[in-house]
């Protein structure tokens, strides 16, 4: 029995949700992914509670330090150990079943350990006062030590956690994915639905893995230098070049921006792979592979340098030409999204769609993703950036893209769940989750964007200052809608029934693979 299976068996509650069948012969593609998925939902519970807590902290005036602590912990938990880990778990399972390669050995264990240990260390640092926000705001971590906001040891702890998380995202996970795609012997007994790189559903995964490695390496070099100096192994003046804010910030956002784009490539490829399985006429073909692949390539090419839009308001330190370049490339990603929209709608229109909860959840995630895309394009425009940068618009954008991608992955998870666990989920509860979570996510996104349009600052502990408290209340209400949806989803996982106990389960989606 694999170590991951044993760990899962000992996890209370989550064993009931994601425990794998050790006897079904698929343990080697199920165990580590299932453990990552289970862990991601633990972090989602943390992130969700903190998300609801933030408006309450402001409403009941519980203090700015508590607010910034909740803000940092919420963002960090939502983005990395939840959203990224959920993606890692499902995509590795998908890849394993498509190319017939096991997910075993040291690498998946390291993926799991680095992400969760790193996130835990970062969380401890945050609880000790290391409130630097999701994007670190370098050089704030160092300045915070200098002006007594947190201790040097807390800084080292926080950076160690971040380094472990980055190692997982930039190297371990992409290398595992590429290893499965290009190396090792294919095993027929592990193949669920064989696919090649000609398939848009696979191409996106490979592109995303490469983006993470290529765009993340400069940040890893800089972060490693800084960390080694913080440990006292090399003198700080040796790494003076790496500690300059402009160096760190540009390396950070080159990666952070492309991290989101890589996650988008990954999840869109997941939709491209899953949608055809639910077409009413059984054709199992996208409207156009050519158009689907073109969307992925356009997204890849335009996303590389669109990160300049993060620095538009640094004018003239970011030359106007690069600001406008970031503007145009960002809108170029919109062309890729437009092709994806057409591919998905034309596929459904041409072939009809079975109304199964999994694909419906994924499609509603896609709707939220498009809302996020529209908000991203607008804020990337140079003129609008000077009104929106630093406002709640940006938080709305960040939260919406993470929620949208996670919802699409939950839809894909719904599809893979029977193979992963040997159990099946309730369609009725799936539909309720879809309705409540979609309403909550759309509502929260729109409220945050409207708050930003009204000038409400992001990462700001005093919404009453500019009369923005009403937006905070609405964020709370829409956040609670999402929370109720997630509770129903958790109940659905808890009450999942073994396939052999459910009449007609042979026709469940996984059988179609």
């Amino acid at each position: 029995m694999l170590a991951a299976t044993k760990i899962l068996q000992r996890l209370p509650f989550f064993n009931r949700m994601f425990g794998v069948d050790a006897e079904d012969g698929l343990q080697e593609i199920n165990s580590w992914p299932a453990l990552m998925i289970a862990s991601s939902f633990i972090w989602l519970a943390v992130a969700g509670l903190l998300g609801v807590a933030m408006p309450l902290i402001q409403r009941f005036d519980l203090g700015s330090e508590l607010f910034y602590m909740a803000l940092t912990a919420h963002g960090a938990a939502l983005a990395f150990p939840f959203s990224f880990q959920l993606m890692a778990g499902i995509s590795l399972h998908r890849a394993g079943g498509c190319v017939g390669k096991p997910i075993t050995g040291v690498l998946p264990a390291l993926i799991f350990i680095c992400m969760n240990l790193g996130a835990a260390l970062l969380t401890v640092a945050i609880l000790l006062g290391f409130s630097v926000s999701l994007v670190v705001m370098y050089p704030l971590p160092v300045v915070g030590v200098a002006n007594g906001q947190w201790s040097f040891n807390t800084l080292v702890l926080g950076f160690t956690g971040i380094a472990l998380v980055l190692t997982m995202m930039i190297y371990l996970y992409p290398v595992q994915l590429l290893k499965m795609m290009f190396f090792g012997k294919k095993r027929e007994d592990l193949i669920l639905s064989e696919r090649t790189l000609d398939d848009p559903g696979m191409l996106g995964m490979v592109i995303a893995a490469l983006v993470l490695i290529v765009m993340g390496t400069p940040l890893m070099i800089i972060a490693s230098y800084v960390l080694v100096a913080l440990y006292g192994i090399i003198p700080l003046d040796v790494v003076a070049w790496a500690t300059k804010p402009v160096v760190f910030q540009f390396a950070f956002f080159t990666f952070a921006h492309n991290l989101m784009e890589a996650m988008a490539l990954m999840v869109i490829s997941g939709i491209y792979a899953t949608l055809p399985l639910y077409l009413a006429d059984g054709t199992r073909e996208l409207y156009s592979k050519r158009l689907a692949n073109a969307a992925l390539w356009i997204l890849l090419i335009t996303s590389f340098s669109s990160f300049f839009h993060h620095f538009i308001t640094l004018l003239p330190n970011l030359p106007a030409s690069l600001a406008y370049h970031g503007n145009i490339m960002s809108w170029g990603t919109g062309i890729g999204a437009a092709l994806s929209i057409f591919t998905i709608l034309a596929t459904i229109w041409k072939h009809g769609l079975r109304k199964e909860p999994g694909i419906m959840i994924a499609l509603m995630g896609f709707v939220i993703y498009v809302m996020d895309g529209a908000s991203a394009l607008v804020t990337s425009n140079v003129a609008w950036s000077f009104q929106l940068h630093g406002t709640m618009w940006q938080s709305g954008h960040t939260m919406t893209v993470l929620i949208a991608m996670s919802m699409m992955w939950i839809g894909v998870l719904y599809h893979h769940y029977p193979v992963l666990t040997g159990r099946t989920l309730s369609a009725k509860q799936g539909n309720w989750f879809m309705v409540l979570f979609t309403a909550g996510a759309l509502g929260a996104g729109l409220v945050m964007l409207a708050g930003g349009a009204a000038g409400m600052p992001r990462r700001f502990a005093d919404w009453a200052q500019g009369g923005w408290a009403v937006y905070g209340d609405l964020i709370l209400v829409t956040g609670l809608l999402m929370a109720v949806g997630l509770i129903i989803l958790a109940a659905n996982f808890m009450k999942s029934r073994k396939l052999d106990e459910v009449p007609g389960s042979a026709s469940a989606p996984e059988a179609a693979e």
Partner: protein
């Protein structure tokens, strides 16, 4: 009209809705009608899909290009260039930002005079966002420590009143308390 479109957050919100609402209407129509309604395959010929595909891509490109070209006139670089070209003397306002306050060389400003704001951060990342008395963000600037030159742009105030300056780049536990004021007075007063 274009000014209130490109130079306000609500203009941005309107643009976002302009893209989102038609998409959602079509998306929900297609998904609902082809899953909960008649899910049989479409009888439309492939050629009609191809025509639709071309029309859609063309429409998207036209809208994207038009929106971004029209916005050039409202970019701060354009405003700066116009102010320089007008021959009118720029009033220089310099400031520094440090956790959690500003040091601004001149906080009394006249309506109608082009002002060049130039700022630097002395410690961590800070912002310098100027809010109109009605609550609207006029512009925001990012201040990154360690850069040789300041962040800078030119703005001409149109209304008298007390404008609030806020930091919009998270800078630590008292970030929300980092603010100042600019008093804009009628010309000649």
């Amino acid at each position: 009209m274009l000014e209130s479109f490109y130079l306000t957050g609500w203009g941005a919100f309107g643009m976002m809705l302009f893209m989102l609402v038609p998409f959602m209407a079509v998306f929900f129509y297609v998904v609902i009608s082809k899953s909960y309604g008649d899910s049989s395959p479409s009888k439309a010929p492939q050629s009609s899909f191809v025509k639709m595909e071309r029309a859609w891509i063309g429409l998207v490109i036209v809208v994207f290009v038009a929106v971004n070209i029209a916005s050039i006139d409202f970019m701060p670089t354009t405003a700066t260039a116009k102010a320089m070209a007008s021959g009118e003397k720029l009033t220089e306002v310099s400031f520094t930002a440090e956790s959690w306050s500003y040091d601004i060389t001149e906080t009394k400003i006249e309506v109608g005079k082009p002002i060049r704001f130039s700022g630097k951060s002395l410690d961590t990342m800070h912002g310098f966002a100027v809010y109109h008395p009605d609550g609207k963000v006029l512009f925001t600037m990012m201040l990154m420590p360690g850069l040789e030159g300041p962040t800078s742009l030119v703005h001409t105030f149109k209304d008298a009143g007390t404008y609030t300056v806020r930091c919009l780049e998270y800078c630590g536990n008292s970030h929300h308390e980092m603010r100042d004021e600019l008093v804009v007075v009628a010309a000649g007063s």
